[in-house]
Symmetry: C2
């Protein structure tokens, strides 16, 4: 069975990616990269999602990015609340973690090398967060070219493939596909600023989810 | 003053890189990435080197790669001792940490983004460790192209430069240049398997150093 390493944060997007990778016939090796402050809630959500969807293995790697700073997710900066969509789209938010996708994909590359996995799956999306340079297809392609040169497998002619199945999907379309594949979104966690382990309903991540579920005539089950 | 992020392990190579980057007129922001088991000795050596050479800042980022495994440096595998040079060169050693350079450069990229640094310096060397795919110039070039697409600075036309000044130098030439620039190699630490904080003198890293100092008619001051 072909192996796929899936970056699993426990959020809506990455849960959907696990389901899509399984649907493509991969044996799933989930990797949760933990950085900054959001430890407990994320670990719990990623465990629930992995258990619900069924994975061959699930690993946790901590990276202490607090020393690097520059983000509301790793430093002491307030997470913005109640922003409208045009503000979200026009600026790189303070919740942006510098080089986050590159760091997470790099750790996934290490795991893929050890497991001799054929693919790395990640939930980058160019639609909802157009402000992030490291969410674009040209970035992902450049990472794949670098990875092919970085590893023994690549040098031997079997480079790992980087698959980003959500890249061009709108959030509502991601949810529709996930529901079709049996994802239980009540188990997922996307909030940037949870209060006692529950989603705040007001940060960018919560608002994007709420709107997408509402577009489908549903209530976000993580907020129910 | 132009800023440079320097990956500093506390070993011979990275200490030399700090001195070379300073010599090129950069303000040095040292970054020590800590993975696997070698915590204390490495932290101590990198602190000593940073203090001796003078840096503007020094940060430590821990990455818990133990869950990924696949290396004598992060898992419970014996470090080989007393190997001859042809064996070292012909195989990827068990001390190889999967995707290590990619992970370290990615974290450096995050720091460079926050500091708005112009360059990242790293001690990759294609001569002594020809078995590592991620020590070749074509790998470093591919990383730089990826980094240019990953970051705001890159998108705005000011991509960070990745400088690997040791790439084509033999170990003895690295040491000669370091001595010229005032590096105190007694402070550095390269050993894969230190005993009570001291270099073992028998692992690949120790043997390569010993031979290079001997070629210059010197004794490795870290073993003195």
């Amino acid at each position: 069975m072909k192996k796929g390493v899936v970056l699993l944060s426990g959020g809506l997007d990455s849960a959907t990616v696990v389901a899509m990778a399984k649907d493509q016939g991969y044996e799933i090796h989930a990797l949760t990269v933990i950085y900054g402050q959001r430890h407990d809630v994320e670990i719990e959500a990623s465990r629930r999602v992995a258990a619900q969807l069924g994975v061959a293995s699930h690993r946790f790697v901590s990276v202490d990015l607090g020393q690097i700073g520059g983000s509301a997710l790793t430093a002491e900066i307030d997470v913005p609340k109640g922003r409208d969509e045009s503000t979200m789209e026009s600026e790189i938010p303070v919740t942006y973690v510098p080089a986050r996708n590159t760091i997470m994909l790099s750790i996934a590359l290490g795991l893929a090398e050890v497991l001799e996995a054929e693919a790395i799956f990640a939930g980058m999306n160019a639609v909802d967060y157009s402000g992030y340079p490291d969410c674009r297809p040209e970035y992902v392609d450049a990472f794949a070219r670098m990875a092919a040169l970085a590893t023994k497998a690549g040098v031997e002619g079997n480079p790992v493939t980087i698959i980003t199945p959500l890249m061009n999907l709108r959030k509502a379309d991601i949810i529709r596909e996930g529901i079709r594949l049996g994802v239980d979104y009540s188990l997922t966690h996307s909030c940037y600023d949870p209060v006692e382990g529950r989603a705040c309903g007001e940060c960018d991540a919560c608002l994007i989810r709420i709107r997408a579920f509402s577009e489908l005539g549903m209530t976000d089950p993580a907020l129910a």
